[in-house]
Symmetry: C3
Subunit: 169 residues, 3 copies
């Protein structure tokens, strides 16, 4: 046994703190990727409540395809609607590209491309290709979607603008 | 030089242990993502043996398209078959979406969407869009596929069920 | 207060060093994924300079579709060209699959599938499906693309070879 330099201890503590900060950031980014990529398996398998619970209680979903949804109750109604149920019963896949994630404290934004494939007459058709912006919040239950905005990449300026804001949380 | 509080040391050790557990979990998830996303480049480039070795020795592959493959020998035969070789010689891409991964000790499941594009008459056709469940095992060589199950998203209940089990390792 | 075993300290230091090496590797891989997946949102939103700056000053882009681009100035010109501007104004999405990344010191390679969807007559067409090899360098500004090579997966041997080199940085 021998004595130890307090410098050594404070250096160890500093290295640990750096690693912990790094681990927190990476954990956040990974959890947000998982949130986004869970959307497809959840709603394509018909789990409407679990789909809505990817959002915060008052979370919103805006898309050119539908009226804006506000809150989990309206989200459940969307996933139970004839539109969505008809889609998945005929064969559909909501495929998310790996998002670019920017975290700012307890807020974050993930930006990606979402595609909806429909099975029609024995072939798969890329029915929709949208830019998707997922504004997320850290909650007691983990990261949740506060606001999702979709814009079809059909040449509109607004879709390009949405996509271009990928670094702004 | 001075003496040090043993509390300080045990606190450092505790923080380190937490970080190590976190690093192990994240490493596992990342290695499994890599395993899944290596499938395309491996089999689309015609590396049949390397493709089979993504599985365990006795690993299986079940798909509506083919007879079940059991073990690496049958997997090599699949990748050497006219079906697969014809596909890649005519132009094909096996594209994996980023999987949702759930690790439970030495077992894990990854769930994603796989698409097979075929080059036909000068255009690319999304020939197959399937839900894919990859049941993995930790082996001495790293994570390997124990069982892969594909289900076309053609509206069948079984495909929706497969997709819906994404949280069950 | 009490004395501490120097063995304890050196064991703590060793565990920290391992974690730091691990964190560096994972950070590298994640930053490279982000670099590749930023390409779409950057160029599809018309940010031509930011698009070019994903490359090193002298970075290159080789594709069957275009003359080789050498350096950021030629890359800006590509993204400002009628080809690219016409594409995004009519509606387009450059969607990247999650790449397989191999890091070797200050060099790395990422390999993935890139798809370009075009919006044509009210539907989305998977216009191009290419194997993409991203050779990257660590720079003072972070990881940057030194060389990107695309090959259409149209059955050519060269495309399969490009894809097959995914483990060679």
């Amino acid at each position: 046994m021998s004595q130890i330099d307090p410098e050594t201890v404070s250096s160890l503590q500093e290295r640990l703190s750096k690693l912990e900060a790094w681990a927190r950031r990476l954990s956040d980014e990974q959890e947000i990727c998982r949130l986004v990529c869970s959307y497809g398996p959840t709603v394509d398998s018909g789990q409407s409540l679990a789909g809505a619970q990817l959002w915060t209680d008052d979370g919103t979903y805006e898309s050119d395809l539908i009226e804006p949804c506000i809150g989990q109750k309206e989200l459940v109604a969307l996933f139970e609607s004839d539109l969505h149920q008809g889609l998945i019963r005929a064969g559909a896949a909501h495929v998310m590209s790996y998002p670019v994630v920017v975290v700012d404290g307890d807020r974050a934004v993930a930006t990606n491309y979402a595609r909806v494939y429909r099975y029609e007459d024995g072939v798969f058709v890329p029915w929709r290709v949208v830019a998707s912006r997922w504004e997320c919040l850290r909650t007691a239950l983990g990261w949740r979607i506060k606001r999702r905005i979709n814009a079809q990449l059909n040449g509109s300026e607004s879709a390009r603008q949405l996509l271009g804001r990928f670094k702004e949380p």
